[in-house]
């Protein structure tokens, strides 16, 4: 897999960082790698870090929703962390609410929620 997105194990979760210029082909690789890691490492959660994203458009919104869908099928909860305030406002104007995911303020908040189970 290219260096555009990375997956790291943190406690009982997989941390996925999405880069600002991610492309369609890289997303497919990422989904593939993520589904394998969720199954192999038996994690409770997937934390998608979007702090590097300058914008979230419908393309990236769909990517996040698909990652969440894969996680859910494999019994892991998805958290989105690092959303910039301007991105949050813009998502509401686009009418995208990412209903499949939970939003946490930071990585440590997301991990704390996962520990509580």
């Amino acid at each position: 897999m290219s260096g555009v997105a990375s997956i790291h194990l943190v406690e009982n979760a997989l941390l996925v960082s999405i880069q600002d210029d991610v492309t369609d082909t890289e997303i497919i690789d990422l989904q593939d790698a993520l589904s394998n890691r969720i199954a192999d490492e038996n994690v409770d959660g997937v934390i998608v870090d979007i702090s590097a994203l300058e914008i979230v458009d419908t393309f990236v919104g769909r990517v996040i929703a698909q990652l969440a869908g894969i996680s859910r099928l494999l019994a892991a909860e998805t958290y989105v962390v690092g959303m910039r305030p301007a991105v949050a406002v813009t998502l509401v104007e686009l009418g995208m609410y990412l209903p499949q995911t939970r939003t946490a303020l930071s990585l440590s908040h997301a991990l704390a929620q996962l520990r509580r189970g």
């Binding site: 600002d20 210029d21 492309t23 369609d24 300058e54 914008i55 979230v56 458009d57 419908t58 393309f59 919104g61 769909r62 910039r84 305030p85 301007a86 991105v87 406002v89 813009t90 104007e93 686009l94 009418g95 995208m96």
Partner: protein
């Protein structure tokens, strides 16, 4: 369809051929950079860059590729963007602008969203000949 502003794209800053997703990323990054350089707030930069990303992706996904041009309208203080393709065009523009309408299994929020996120927005489309979107952000 309204005539474009006579001074639209008065001073051209950059052109990019839109063929792949990477080109759409480059287009919205150029727009963000130009707005930031002119002191536009983070929120307004994000809103307009998102709008440009939606329209540039539509050119690639639905329009078979095309051209992006960004420029200044010094007289009226707008950053202007034009995205143009020679694709199949949009038969019913009112329907296409509605949130949730998609012919490609998308979310159908790109066109309506881009209009809401721009300070000026106009679309010109001829079925079988192509689509041109002109959009601007106040600077």
């Amino acid at each position: 369809m309204a005539e474009p502003q006579p001074d639209f794209l008065h001073k051209i800053l950059q052109r990019i051929d839109l063929k792949t997703g990477k080109d759409a990323v480059q287009a919205r990054q150029v727009v963000a950079r130009e707005l930031k350089a002119r002191g536009v707030s983070a929120l307004r930069v994000t809103r307009f860059a998102t709008a440009v990303s939606e329209i540039a992706r539509n050119v690639i996904v639905h329009g078979g590729g095309g051209h992006f041009t960004v420029g200044l309208n010094a007289a009226t203080s707008y950053l202007d963007v034009e995205c143009r393709d020679r694709g199949r065009g949009i038969p019913d523009i009112d329907q296409a602008m509605k949130d949730g309408f998609t012919t490609a299994g998308g979310l159908g929020r790109g066109l309506g969203g881009a209009k809401r996120l721009s300070d000026r927005f106009e679309i010109e489309t001829v079925p079988g000949q192509g689509t041109t979107v002109r959009m601007s952000a106040k600077i």
